[in-house]
Symmetry: C2
Subunit: 321 residues, 2 copies
């Protein structure tokens, strides 16, 4: 929620003059996105978002992310479209940072999703999975099962300061996941960070999905599990079966789940809980007080993990296979 | 540079429905303004800024600020215009905060002002001073000469940790200002915070002045002095006479300075330096590390103060009376 890199007048003018987008009429930093600097750039022709990629984004990954947005947009998926400069380039540099000018996507993210939002999400997620099947970029998931234990080791000594017994509980869970993590499930490009703030709606209709900067190749079911966690729990921690059913049903109407995927869902949901529990735990322990970005509470994801541990079959998510 | 208050979907929808501004198409926090939360609100009719007034703004002052913007806008001064709801109200409440919906002002602030920007500024400043003459609101300057010593006392014990001898230097300067502060100069409503980030340009033309939340009744010369400091020094601390001459000449072409104002300018500039030196010093000493808003360096204003202490007459600012 910040702007990390300032852009000088002359730099901006020189940059914009290499695009066919008209004259700049406004340029404002926007308080969205945790990793990068985002500006709203208005011209006399249109509105745009200018994203400057900050240090936490790996420069080598940018062609994958930008190419993915171009691929999805070309296939009619509602997502920000990278704008080409006069030389046909989309990945550029400005103020010493890699950057991309992207189309402005109308819509608002929903602070309190309702079942019909979850239904829209399921459909859009499946459509995205299918549309990316013939995308020729690949990127390994850098927060996969194999990355969790090294990440955990960095927080382990302080974990119990957050909650008594947390280290042991995570340790035990990792052992279980490492032993039983499903393999051989349908894979492709997943979004991997489909939280409500990355999904825009106009009224009741989903108008687009943003922020592809965690996208990677992994099991589709894992992406579904991330969404179950991010969209189908209430603020008090209760799981909302109506929302889960709406999401899974609309996903399945576009891309029917295999039995193996359905069966894997509870364990996938545990893994997805552990992934966000671990990154939040690390940030919680390593963010200085009063920092620009407030760390999110890791215990929210401990609560979700505990819920999924008591799920016997995916039927409990509200839907028969 | 932040958004402090989140607005819920249902709150926003209910709020917007009380205005005749069309359907919302986008709502994004913008990283501008230190004191308040600002959102870009787009509808299918127009763009707006929604400002939520945070704790540091005194609620009783809001009618003065909002009334001033309405008054200036009605007189053709380029500034944000508060938008009336269906009941004719401009000062409203949202998410537990006082708020106002204001028109979106095109233009960009200039990171590195050039002489022609200073010329535009001088003209607009004088026009604003004249246009506010018949505004019937009044507000005392809460950061006037009389407020500086109490403010200084809060930082005095730690002042020398910022620079050796700083406490004594400020003490001596305050004594001088208290003894010789000019009185009887032409007064009216001044902006009192006319930094480059509050002045928008479209190309070479000034397109508007924003952020009236320090506006108050005080000497016009004091406002000019604040601008001299904010616009006419280079980043290396050098005073740029060309810029000062451009600003003062264009101001004087709209509202000619009295001899008393011209003579008072060097001391006014010292006072304006002390005012920002003191607030920055306080923030510098009292802002926790890594806070949302980075404190500005107080010593920049010590340097400006020292420059003005060596100015014998306002002629040294580049302009004969």
């Amino acid at each position: 929620m910040a702007v990390y890199t300032e852009v000088r007048d002359d730099e901006l003018a020189a940059f914009v003059s290499t695009y066919d987008i008209g004259e700049v009429t406004s340029f404002k930093g926007i308080a969205e996105g945790v990793e990068n600097s985002n500006y709203l750039l208005k011209t006399d022709q249109d509105d745009f978002i200018l994203t400057l990629y900050e240090k936490r984004v790996n420069r080598e990954d940018l062609p994958f992310f930008i190419g993915l947005m171009e691929h999805l947009a070309a296939k009619g998926i509602a997502c920000p479209t990278p704008v080409k400069d006069r030389n046909g380039q989309t990945l550029r540099e400005l103020a010493g940072r890699p950057c991309a000018l992207i189309s402005f996507l109308e819509g608002m993210w929903v602070r309190r999703p309702l079942p019909h939002h979850c239904s829209e999400l399921g459909k859009a997620l499946a459509e995205m999975h299918l549309a990316a099947l013939d995308y020729n970029g690949t990127r390994a998931n850098t927060l996969s099962l194999y990355d969790w234990r090294p990440l955990f080791e960095q927080s382990k000594p302080q974990a119990d300061t957050v909650q008594d017994g947390l280290a042991a509980e995570i340790d035990e869970e990792l052992t279980r996941l490492e032993a039983d993590w499903p393999s051989g499930l349908p894979q492709g490009v997943i979004h991997a960070d489909m939280f409500p703030n990355n999904v825009f709606f106009m009224g009741d209709k989903l108008s687009g999905i943003i922020d592809y900067y965690f996208a990677c190749n992994d099991a589709f079911t894992y992406d579904i599990a991330i969404c179950l966690n991010a969209w189908c729990f209430e603020h008090d921690g209760a799981f909302n079966t109506t929302k889960a059913r709406a999401m899974l049903a609309s996903y399945g109407a576009v891309r029917p789940l295999l039995k193996s995927e359905f069966d894997a869902l509870p364990l996938m949901a545990r893994g997805a809980s552990v992934r966000f529990l671990l990154t939040r735990l690390y940030d919680w322990l390593n963010t200085p007080q009063g920092a620009l970005v407030k760390p999110l509470n890791p215990l929210e994801y401990l609560q979700k993990l505990r819920f999924h541990k008591h799920v016997e079959t995916a039927r409990e998510y509200g839907l028969d296979q």
